[in-house]
Symmetry: C2
Subunit: 193 residues, 2 copies
DNA sequence: TTTATTTCTTGCCAATTGACAAGTGGCAAT
DNA sequence: ATTGCCACTTGTCAATTGGCAAGAAATAAA
């Protein structure tokens, strides 16, 4: 397996000489997850960040009533982890599970620190990655505030149609902030139109 | 005016020798905003980050129907800016306005870059600040998904009661993702109890 | 003070969504 | 084939919320 996709991804997030991207990529090692494998479980301190080359992850937490709430879906290519647990070195409150077989490249926290303090381009890359994730989250928040459940559903199916092949509708429902019952009704209405 | 509060804030986010915190704080210069002053307007590229020593900011954007939607409130002490615009050097989609007279310390993007690449402690501080903001946003997102409007209101009044003295209820309503009418009814119901 | 403007509240009705329960269909183990 | 287990759909009813409009209250302007 080659690291070409990782190198391309790094350069896509932050343009830099290929030699620098290769230098950064040298700190990553390959790891595979099978469908339904846990990438991280609640209570663990996240030890690695993952470049997801192919496949997708689901992130979920358990609410006060004991129900699973899907909080995020990572679809390749992306850097995936629990930022809070990883960077603050605290136990995760979320679970991350592979929805499909996945090809990943991982980097440990210690190696990431070395890169961060010795490779200026990596610093910029890392910051940009955080900004991008912040931005995605903010967009989703705006959607929750401004859009109806039906509009949020339509947006999701437009932006990420593959998701519907890879996870249960009930997981998508909790991600959209509605019950599976409501989602079912919304889908029914949209079929009519 | 002394920079002591800024120095304390830096050390609170990321413990470090006081000399380092002072070195970082040297890049910040004082600036005041009067109530209703714009800190940033839609379309501008954010040129500075602000340490808000006292006072508070409101962040809002305009939705498709032309309505103001409050997306965030910054209350001192905090580092406040439009991260997306500031770090990506792109026009802001949000407006930031001072809700009260504010005492701030600002740092330009260029100076921040210098700190970022020359002061290891600042790198860690900056990253931790981004993580903290990401975490706040994620908590708010979870609230939008898991809590009722009434619960979100109660949480806000618990965590940030001063806010209700400093901005109109309609702004709080849009922040909570409901109409001002609904907020009014929720408040009425809670008075009964 | 008077006037004008904005904010907040309230009532009415409609649309959305949730809670609960029953029923259908797919899938896997036996 | 049977059984059990989930995921999904559907119906009924209740609660929440929005849209609209009118009026009250607070604030700003003249």
């Amino acid at each position: 397996m080659s690291k070409q996709q990782l190198i391309d991804f790094i350069q896509h997030i932050l343009p830099m000489p290929v030699a620098k991207a290769e230098l950064i990529s040298a700190y990553f090692t390959e790891i595979h997850f099978a469908k339904n494998d846990f990438v991280l479980q609640e209570g663990q301190v996240s030890s690695h960040s993952y470049f997801l080359e192919s496949g997708c992850f689901r992130v979920y937490s358990i609410d006060v009533d004991g129900n699973e709430v899907s909080t995020e879906f990572f679809t390749a290519p992306i850097i995936a982890n629990d930022f809070l647990s990883f960077f603050k070195r605290i136990p995760a409150t979320d679970n991350i599970v592979a929805l499909t077989n996945c090809v990943c490249w991982k980097i440990s926290f210690d190696d990431l620190q070395i890169c961060f303090h010795t490779i200026p381009e990596f610093r910029e890359f890392g910051r940009m990655m955080l900004i991008n994730n912040y931005s995605r989250l903010k967009q989703r928040m705006l959607g929750m505030v401004q859009l109806t459940a039906e509009q949020r559903y339509q947006k999701l199916i437009e932006v990420n149609p593959e998701l519907f092949q890879q996870t249960a509708l009930k997981n998508i429902a909790s991600y959209l902030g509605i019950t599976d019952t409501s989602l079912s009704r919304i889908r029914k209405e949209l079929v009519k139109k």
